[in-house]
Amino acid sequence: MNNNFIKYLYGIADNSLILGQRLGELTGHAPSLEVDIALTNISLDLFGQVRSYFQYAAQLSEDDITEDDLAFLRTEREYLNVLLVEQPNTDFAYTIARQFLFDHFHMLLMTEMQKSKDETLVAIAKKSIKEVSYHKRFSSDWIKRLGDGTEESKQRIQKAVNDLWRFTDELFHTTEADEAMIKEGIAVDVKMLKDVYYKNVNEVLETATLEVPELKYFQKGGKEGIHSEHMGFLLNDMQYMQRTYPGMKW
């Protein structure tokens, strides 16, 4: 059980870790100071959540490990985040579309996680849900601004949503570890969130005067540790210090 639980935690935590890392790349480069501050805020929230999950995972683990070992010293195949969150900051439209598609999922996940049998997960969910509900509002508002803004912004956000749509289905996949933890009443059965997710997302897209993409083929793999080519470069940056100077305290 322990091993499955830890894997389940990696899955949730890695989503926040990798998305937080992506957002951190943007600090100092946003279209306005206000947006810069907001994106950094979201990144900070996500890293705060990561620390809660990893500290908990380290505590559950039989090995003598820390939150930083988990964040910085796994191999690429051991990260279990979905493909969506590792996609690059192509432009502000992609940043917002990625955030929006993730936030709506994250909100549902945190809502359900409050019903977990595990008290620590419940506590993390209760704290996170306030943050995630702000993230969701921020990204949904920007979807509307860009969709119903200028001709250019509409084209750009539509393209970003269309491109990233192929990664949404994976949000609702479950791994063996997930299934085992669902049976225990600890994990959220994300399969059950799919319909309401698309309903919510589509509603915002329609308000934003955007088309809901019609897609038959989706991408997957992140949850099994099979990532896109972007992931290695992201890890290269993120793990640089820990890999270059092993075993030191910072």
Binding site: G28, H29, L44, F47, R51, F92, L146, G149
Partner: protein, 318 residues
């Protein structure tokens, strides 16, 4: 307005400053006072947002989750400082867009220190310790400067800066208590950041053009040389605690003066960087310009959306 009336207003203005009362945006002020404040405050705001870049450079590579979160929060604080300094400057009748334009065209300056590269993690510690340390010495007197919006902004800025300074020093302390390699990294950072930090306190008094007027308006309370001495006196004992050496062979405690004597500053380097030829001047400015230009369509969209929304509201009201 007659000459006599202007003279009268000037007298009221001077008397206010002499009584340590604040000048507020709607008060009458001499044109030179307004221009000087726009120059200095916007320069300060620009320094905050350009200053985000050398440190932001290390967010993606921070060595631990705790350090990453602290660095993100620090750089975010700087964005916040920029935001309220720009807002305070706007009360003097200039828009934020105009101020950006001055930065991007190279007309407005920002603190030269940010034109040096951050090449190791220890640089993040050294910037917090030395650069924020020097900034605090520069800025604490501004909390009681004569222009109200600036003074009030500075109270908050200084509180956060002093937190950043302690954080930077703590990074240095961790490195100096670490492995030999880490200690060397800390020493190397001190070697590279020491002299530029001394330069941050401005040209020597005899070469400083604005000092006299700024003293009168309480934009300055001490001269550059006095501030520099204060910085050195305060910082050298901190380096001793870290067990690393300040890269100045002439640095020596002087019993008679009660201050440290120190070596010659390379002012040629200072002026070279001020004039735009430092190691990263081009990159810093280009990065700001790129962020601004790449964000144009986003700002346009936000504006267009806001206009559509308010039109809809008007229609609904009818």
């Amino acid at each position: 307005m007659s000459e006599k009336e202007v003279k009268n207003l000037e007298e009221i203005f001077e008397a206010k400053i002499a009584r340590d009362e604040k000048i507020e945006p709607k008060d009458w002020m001499p044109e030179k006072y307004r221009k000087t404040h726009i120059r200095q405050m916007s320069q300060h705001a620009h320094s905050e947002i350009v200053g985000m870049l050398p440190e932001g450079n290390w967010i993606s590579r921070a060595p631990s989750l705790r350090r990453k979160v602290a660095l993100l929060a620090k750089v975010q604080d700087e964005a916040g400082h920029g935001l309220y300094l720009y807002s305070a400057t706007e009360t003097l009748g200039i828009s934020r867009d105009e101020l950006y334009e001055q930065l991007h065209s190279g007309k407005a300056k920002y603190s030269s220190i940010f034109n040096y590269p951050t090449i190791t993690w220890a640089d993040i510690g050294a910037i917090g310790w030395l650069v924020d340390g020097a900034a605090i010495i520069n800025q604490v007197p501004l909390c009681s400067t004569s222009f109200g919006p600036y003074a009030r902004a500075m109270v908050r800025v200084c509180k956060e800066e002093s937190f950043h300074q302690r954080q930077g020093y703590e990074i240095m302390l961790t490195l100096c208590n670490g492995t030999e390699e880490q200690k060397q990294m800390a020493q190397d950072a001190l070697n590279r950041w020491w002299w530029p930090s001394l330069m941050m306190l401005g040209p020597t008094d005899d070469a400083s053009t604005h000092t006299e007027q700024s003293m009168k308006w309480k934009l300055k309370r001490k001269t550059n040389d006095e501030l520099r001495q204060q910085f050195i006196d305060q910082t050298v004992p901190q380096a001793d605690i870290l067990g690393i050496t300040v890269p100045d062979e002439d640095l020596k405690w002087n019993e008679e003066t009660g201050h440290y004597d120190f070596g010659e500053i390379n002012w040629d380097e200072f002026w070279q960087v001020v004039k735009g030829h430092g190691p990263c001047n081009k990159e810093r400015l280009q990065t700001r310009v790129n962020a601004w230009e790449n964000g144009e369509w986003v700002r346009d969209a936000a504006l267009a959306y806001a206009e559509k929304q308010s039109e809809r509201k008007v229609k609904q009201a009818i």
